[in-house]
């Protein structure tokens, strides 16, 4: 069941990521393109636990260089309370639009893991 959810999330995410990359807003009501400045502003907040650029490996995992689909599925699953035992991530991801989380996933996926 969880695999199925993951698959759906990834598939939907891929479509939306494509839409975003081609400049089509999936939320015209918001009338907001999630530009690089916004994405980087959000990503910088992550560094307070995940290290600068999401590079640090501790009990908290690094973000940089992970597959986009994986990061996206995780962030959205956190936001929807679909990760049993999750601690702070559901509370934090609920502070952002799905589109923002997808864009942040793409951003960290684009970084080289050092």
């Amino acid at each position: 069941m969880r695999e199925l959810i993951l698959l759906i999330v990834v598939a939907v995410g891929a479509v939306l990521a494509f839409a975003w990359s081609t400049g089509v807003s999936s939320e015209p009501a918001e009338d907001e393109v999630i530009g690089p400045e916004r994405v980087e502003a959000i990503a910088r907040t992550c560094a307070a636990c995940h290290g600068t650029g999401g590079q640090l490996q501790t009990e908290i995992p690094p973000l940089a260089g992970n597959p986009q689909a994986v990061l996206e599925a995780q962030l959205l699953a956190f936001k929807r309370d679909e990760v049993p035992g999750a601690t702070v991530m559901p509370r934090l991801t609920r502070g952002y639009e799905d589109e923002e989380l997808r864009a942040v996933a793409a951003y960290f996926a684009s970084l080289e893991r050092k």
Binding site: P36, A41, A48, E59, L92, R94, G95, Y96, L111
Partner: protein, 446 residues
Amino acid sequence: MSNDGKSFIMPGTSITRRQALKRMGLFGFGGLAAASGLPVYAARPPAARVAVVGGGFGGATAAKYLKMLRPDLDVTLVEPARRYYTCPFTNLYLGGLRDFESLGHDYRELGETFGVRVVHERAEDVDVDGRRLKLSGGGELSWDRLVLSPGIDIRWGALEGYDEAAAEKAPHAWKAGPQTHLLRRQLEAMEDGGTFVLVAPENPFRCPPGPYERVSMIAHYLKTHKPRSKVLLLDAKDNFSKQGLFMEGWAEHYGDMIEWVGLSDDGRVIRVDADRLEVETEFGTIHRASLLNVVPPQKAGVIAHRAGVTDDSGWVPVEPETFQSRKVPGVYVIGDATQAAPMPKSGFVANNQGKVAAAAILADLDGREAPRPTWMNTCYSVIAPDWGITVANVYEVTDGELREVPGSGGVSPSGANAEFRRNEARFAEAWYAGITQDVWGSRPTG
């Protein structure tokens, strides 16, 4: 983070570190456009000068991110300490869970990797009209934009009987350093069967869950070494951060060792007698302590008052979008010194505010509108080894006001199982490693 001359900054920025240093060589003492009164443009700006006062969570972050985002900027960090000890996790040191040295961080990454000029002096005064900073060494520092991250100062005497001399007998230990060591020594010297009394202040103050984590860690120490002792928490408030979770954890780990007395039950202390280790409450109850720990009323660090950015509250009002002072343009204030409610005065928030201020300063220098800001906070508190709790929030600006993003945030679930609490205690350690890497470039220590 490696630094091999490749671009180490965000994608889309093409300046390498080597190029940046080259430019700094050419423009290192720049601010040429500013000095000549010409507007500063984005295309090929001479290095604008940003001075950052205070090398804690806010200031060190602002300095690092300014240089990371704009390597050719001329950034000077003014911080007296060569090694900075964090207030977060001093409670774990007091409880015996951490070595004090593990709380120390230096400025090598800022200087060597990012090219921040670090001046180990005290900022004595600010001339906001002349845009100069007066340093304790006698020199001056000119700036085009100023960032103040001065933390807190104690309002000596605001609580009757509690002055600097009293703090040598009844420590506050609300700044990491000699006061922390003093409290630990007193704890070691305290007799078994004694009473540890903590006096907690009204809001706002540095680290809202701090007093409650403090007594948790003290209780852990006492339970381990002096199990007949008591802990009494006298509070000027009726509610406190993560209250239910603290109460649950205290009952679980310490039975009735910790007694909390809130405002309505005459918990507000109005007078301290440090010589006798006694405190008097609002309605005249005298409590005698074996060890007295006073968390006193606070205000913004002294340099904020010198700069004229504080108001009658003693704290600093800021523009929420940028953390620029509402009173003095060109001066940005971050961290515990600010009025940023509903954000707490926490290291996590100061780190996030440093990044928002850095982005806003760069936009201002470019003549652009500041980017839409976002902030997070997570406050971990450790009640016992393997028993952590959290409050987490996301903040935004709506209609010119700071607020929590609706639907986000909250505290750990009440009644969660031991595994959940153990995970949050482990993540507390990991968070500390993460944020001190992000701020000072420290590497995790065992």
